[in-house]
C-alpha cells in the first residue's frame, strides 16, 4: 500500500443487543448453541416439504413450519393482517430470527415503529424467481395468472420485513453470495456509524431451493455424507437453510434504553480476490485484505483474536485458502483457536454470515467453544490446525472474528467483542 488510505475506524461502538437464529442445527439461538456442544448433526435427505429431487446429497433443513411462535406473536402486534402465505420461506425464516432478536433486545413495537430502522439482510436464493409452475406455463405460450410475479415483487427480504414490522428506514438486500450475511452486518454497522438509522436489524436468510441444490451439485462441491470441515478426507459442503439476525444500536441508544449489550461489532472488512468466478484465490488474497481492513477498522491491528469462526465449508479449495490466509495474518498459529460451525448448520449461503456471527458472539460470551463438528482428523496439509470435534476449548479473551468467503471472490470479516 502506498499510504494514501486514511482508514477511519467507525470508532463508534455499535452494540449488539439481541440475536436470533433458526436453522437445521436448532430452532433458536439457545438450541443451536446447545446442539453445537453436543455435536448434533441434523443432516438428512431433502425433505418432501421443501422439494422433490432424484439427487442424493443430504441437507440441513429447518423445520417445515419455520414461522416461530415468537414471530406469530410479534406480527399480531405489528401487522395483524399478515398472512404467512403472502411471503416466501426466506422471509418467514428472516422474520422468525428477527422476532427472537428483537425480543431479546427488549425493543417494544411502539419504540420500533417510532425510530428509523435500518434493515440489511443478505440472501442468495431469496431474491430469485424460482416458480417452476409459472415458468413452465409461460414457456408453453400460456398467460399464467400474474400472482407469482406479484409474490416475487413483494418478496425483497428487507422490504418485506419493513412491511411486516411496520417500520421505516433504510433497507438493502446484500447479494454477495455466501458472504452476504456478514456484509449485511457490516453495512448496517456503517449505517449506524453515519447516522442513517437509529437501530438496525441485520444478518441473513436463505431457504433451500431446488435450483441452488442442483447448481452446487453441478459444481461438484457437495458431499454425499455430512460435511467435515478441515478434515483430512473432506469431500465438500452440504447445503442448509436458515436465518441469523442481530439487533444493532449505537452505544448511547442501548444505554438510554437501559439495555445491557451482549457485545459489539468492532470492525468490518470486505475485499475481493479478483481471481476466479467460483474458486477462492489459493492463498486467500482477498481474505487477507479483508482481515487487515477489519483489524484496522477495529483500531487494533495487532489483535490476536480469542476465536476465529471460519467460513470452513468443507470443500478442499475453501479450507486450504482460508487457513493459508489466516496463517499469513496471524503467524502465531499455535495460539489460534479456529473452528467452523457448518458441521452443525450446513452451508446456509446468504444466512451463513449472520448465523456464524451470532455463534461467535455466544462462544465469546461463554468463554468456551466446542470443536469443529464433523472434523475428526486434521488435514495436515492445511497451514494451521483448526479444532477437531473433540477438542473443546476455553477461550483466552473476549474478541473474536467471524469470516465468510463467496463465489465471485468476495471476502468479508467481522471483529466481534463480547460483553463480559
Amino acid at each position: 500500500m502506498d499510504g494514501r488510505i486514511n482508514t477511519v475506524s467507525s470508532s463508534l461502538p455499535v452494540a449488539v443487543t439481541g440475536v436470533g437464529c433458526l436453522s437445521g442445527g436448532g430452532a433458536d439461538v439457545e438450541r443451536l448453541w446447545r446442539n453445537l456442544g453436543r455435536a448434533v448433526v441434523n443432516c438428512h435427505p431433502v425433505p418432501g416439504y421443501l422439494f422433490n429431487t432424484v439427487l442424493d446429497y443430504p441437507v440441513f433443513a429447518a423445520p417445515a413450519d419455520c414461522f416461530s411462535e415468537r414471530a406469530c406473536r410479534l406480527v399480531v402486534e405489528t401487522s395483524p393482517q399478515f398472512s404467512r402465505e403472502s411471503v416466501s420461506r426466506t422471509v418467514l425464516l428472516a422474520c422468525s430470527a428477527a422476532a427472537e432478536a428483537l425480543i431479546q433486545a427488549g425493543v417494544s413495537v411502539p419504540y420500533l415503529q417510532s425510530v428509523r430502522v435500518g434493515i440489511a439482510l443478505g440472501t442468495t436464493v431469496g431474491c430469485t424467481f424460482h416458480n417452476e409452475e409459472y415458468f413452465s406455463a409461460w414457456q408453453k405460450g400460456l398467460a399464467p395468472d400474474l400472482g407469482p410475479i406479484q409474490f416475487h415483487l413483494a418478496g425483497n427480504v428487507a422490504s418485506a420485513l419493513h412491511r411486516i414490522l411496520g417500520t421505516s428506514g433504510p433497507s438493502a438486500v446484500i447479494n454477495n453470495a455466501c458472504a452476504s450475511g456478514t456484509d449485511a452486518i457490516g453495512v448496517a454497522r456503517n449505517w449506524l456509524a453515519t447516522g442513517q438509522c437509529d437501530i438496525a436489524i441485520a444478518g441473513g436468510a436463505d431457504a433451500l431451493s431446488r435450483v441452488a441444490y442442483n447448481g452446487f451439485a453441478s459444481l461438484m462441491l457437495v458431499d454425499k455424507e455430512a460435511c467435515r470441515p478441515f478434515n483430512k478426507n473432506r469431500q465438500g459442503l452440504n447445503l442448509g437453510e436458515g436465518a441469523g439476525v442481530m439487533v444493532l444500536e449505537r452505544q448511547e441508544s442501548s444505554f438510554s434504553r437501559q439495555v445491557q449489550p451482549l457485545g459489539w461489532v468492532r470492525g468490518y472488512g470486505c475485499a475481493a480476490d479478483a481471481w476466479h468466478p467460483t474458486a477462492p484465490h489459493p492463498e486467500g488474497r482477498g481474505l487477507k485484505a479483508a482481515l487487515r481492513q477489519a483489524l484496522r477498522d477495529c483500531g487494533s491491528e495487532k489483535l490476536v483474536p480469542a476465536l476465529i469462526n471460519a467460513h470452513g465449508t468443507g470443500t478442499k479449495a475453501n479450507d486450504k485458502a482460508e487457513t493459508a490466509a489466516l496463517a499469513a495474518i496471524f503467524p502465531q498459529t499455535e495460539e489460534l483457536v479456529v473452528v467452523s460451525t457448518k458441521g452443525l448448520t450446513g452451508h446456509t449461503l446468504g444466512a451463513a454470515g449472520g448465523i456464524e456471527a451470532i455463534l461467535t458472539l455466544i462462544a465469546l460470551r461463554a468463554g468456551f467453544t466446542p470443536g469443529t463438528v464433523g472434523c475428526l482428523e486434521s488435514d495436515l496439509e492445511l497451514s494451521l490446525r483448526p479444532l477437531i470435534q473433540t477438542d473443546n476449548r476455553q477461550l483466552a479473551g473476549t474478541w473474536g472474528i467471524s469470516q465468510s468467503l463467496a463465489f465471485g471472490g468476495g471476502n468479508a470479516v467481522l471483529v466481534i467483542e463480547a460483553a463480559s
Binding site: M1, D2, R4, I5, N6, V8, T53, V54, T124, C127, T128, F129, H130, E132, F135, W138, Q139, A143, L146, I149, Q150, F151, H152, L153, N156, S159, H162, R163, S168, P170, A172, V173, I174, N175, N176, D183, V187, N190, Q196, V211, N214, G215, A217, S218, L219, M220, C270, A271, A272, D273, A274, P277, T278, A289, D297, A406, F407, G408, G409, G410
Partner: protein, 266 residues
C-alpha cells in the same frame, strides 16, 4: 470523520453492448448482465487520468432490481426441460447475482470492497450511497458504482399484462459512476448525501414505476416508466452539471413506493 466526495466520471450504456476489444476474450462466455456491467464500468474508468491507486483502494458497488434474470430463467428452463443433474456449472455461477461484481473486480483489477445490492425501488441509489460512504470515510480512494438491468422476456410479458399495453418502455442498460475524494479528483460535482425512504406499495407498482417523478434543476420533467429511467436521467444531468445556473441542488425522486433525495454541490 468524513470528507467530501466528487463524481469524477459517468458512463451510460443503453441498448446494444459493444464489448471493448481488450475484454472480449474474457467476456466471451459471460451473460449480457455481466457484459453490460463490466463494459459500463470499464468505459467510465478509462476516461480518468492514469494514477497509481492500489487495487485494494478501489471498490465496486452494484445496484440492481432484477439481476441476471434471463440467466436465471435459462437455468430454470434447463432444470425443468433437461432434468436434475444436467445444469451447466458456468450457467449456475453466472446466475448468482454477484457474478457481475466478481467479473468487474477481476477484469478491472479491483480488490477493495465489492458489494451487490438488490432492491426494487432505487437500487442504484443505495449502491451509490454505500460507495459514497466508503470514499468519504477514507476506506477506499475510488468507488465504481454501477446500476444495471437486462430484464427478460418473461418480465416484459408481465409488464405488458400488468399495464395492458403492447410494448415495454425499457432497453437493457447500465450506468457507472466513479466517486473519489473531492480534493484528489476533478469532477462534475460533489455528492453530499442520499436519503431514501421506502413506502409500502403494490408489487406491480415497483415494476411499472407508478407515479415516479424527478424534481430538480437539470432533471427532465418526465421519465419513461422503467426501472433504470431514474438512473439514466440522473447520469445525463450529472454529465452537464456545470451548465446548471446554480451549483447547489437537491434532486428529489417521488414514487408510489418511496422518496429519494440526492444532495449535490458544484
Amino acid at each position: 470523520m468524513s470528507g467530501p466526495v466528487t463524481v469524477s466520471a459517468v458512463n451510460q450504456l443503453i441498448g446494444n453492448c459493444v464489448v471493448p476489444e481488450q475484454l472480449a476474450r474474457e467476456l466471451r462466455r459471460a451473460d449480457l448482465f455481466i457484459q453490460m456491467a463490466v463494459t459500463s464500468a470499464y468505459s467510465a474508468i478509462s476516461g480518468l487520468p492514469a494514477d497509481k491507486l492500489h487495487p485494494e483502494e478501489i471498490g465496486v458497488f452494484i445496484g440492481t432490481a432484477y439481476g441476471p434474470l434471463e440467466t436465471n430463467f435459462e437455468l430454470l428452463g434447463s432444470l425443468i426441460n433437461e432434468g436434475e443433474g444436467q445444469i451447466s456449472p458456468t450457467l449456475f455461477s453466472h446466475s448468482v447475482y454477484n457474478a457481475a461484481a466478481g467479473y468487474v473486480a477481476r477484469l478491472l483489477e479491483i480488490r477493495g470492497p465489492v458489494m451487490t445490492i438488490t432492491n426494487y425501488g432505487w437500487p442504484f441509489l443505495i449502491a451509490l450511497e454505500e460507495g459514497r460512504v466508503a470514499v468519504s470515510t477514507g476506506r477506499i480512494a475510488r468507488a465504481v458504482v454501477i446500476g444495471v438491468e437486462t430484464y427478460s422476456e418473461l418480465l416484459a410479458d408481465a409488464y405488458r399484462r400488468f399495464l395492458q399495453v403492447d410494448t415495454v418502455p425499457w432497453e437493457r442498460s447500465a450506468v457507472a459512476w466513479v466517486l473519489e475524494p473531492a480534493g484528489a479528483a476533478k469532477g462534475f460535482c460533489r455528492l453530499q448525501g442520499i436519503n431514501l425512504c421506502e413506502y409500502e406499495a403494490q408489487p406491480a407498482d415497483l415494476l411499472t414505476r407508478r407515479g415516479e417523478t424527478l424534481t430538480g434543476c437539470g432533471l427532465p420533467p418526465e421519465i419513461p416508466r422503467h426501472p433504470m429511467a431514474y438512473a439514466i436521467a440522473l447520469s445525463e444531468a450529472i454529465s452537464s452539471y456545470d451548465k446548471l445556473p446554480a451549483q447547489q441542488h437537491c434532486w428529489l425522486i417521488n414514487a408510489s413506493f418511496g422518496r429519494a433525495e440526492i444532495n449535490l454541490a458544484g
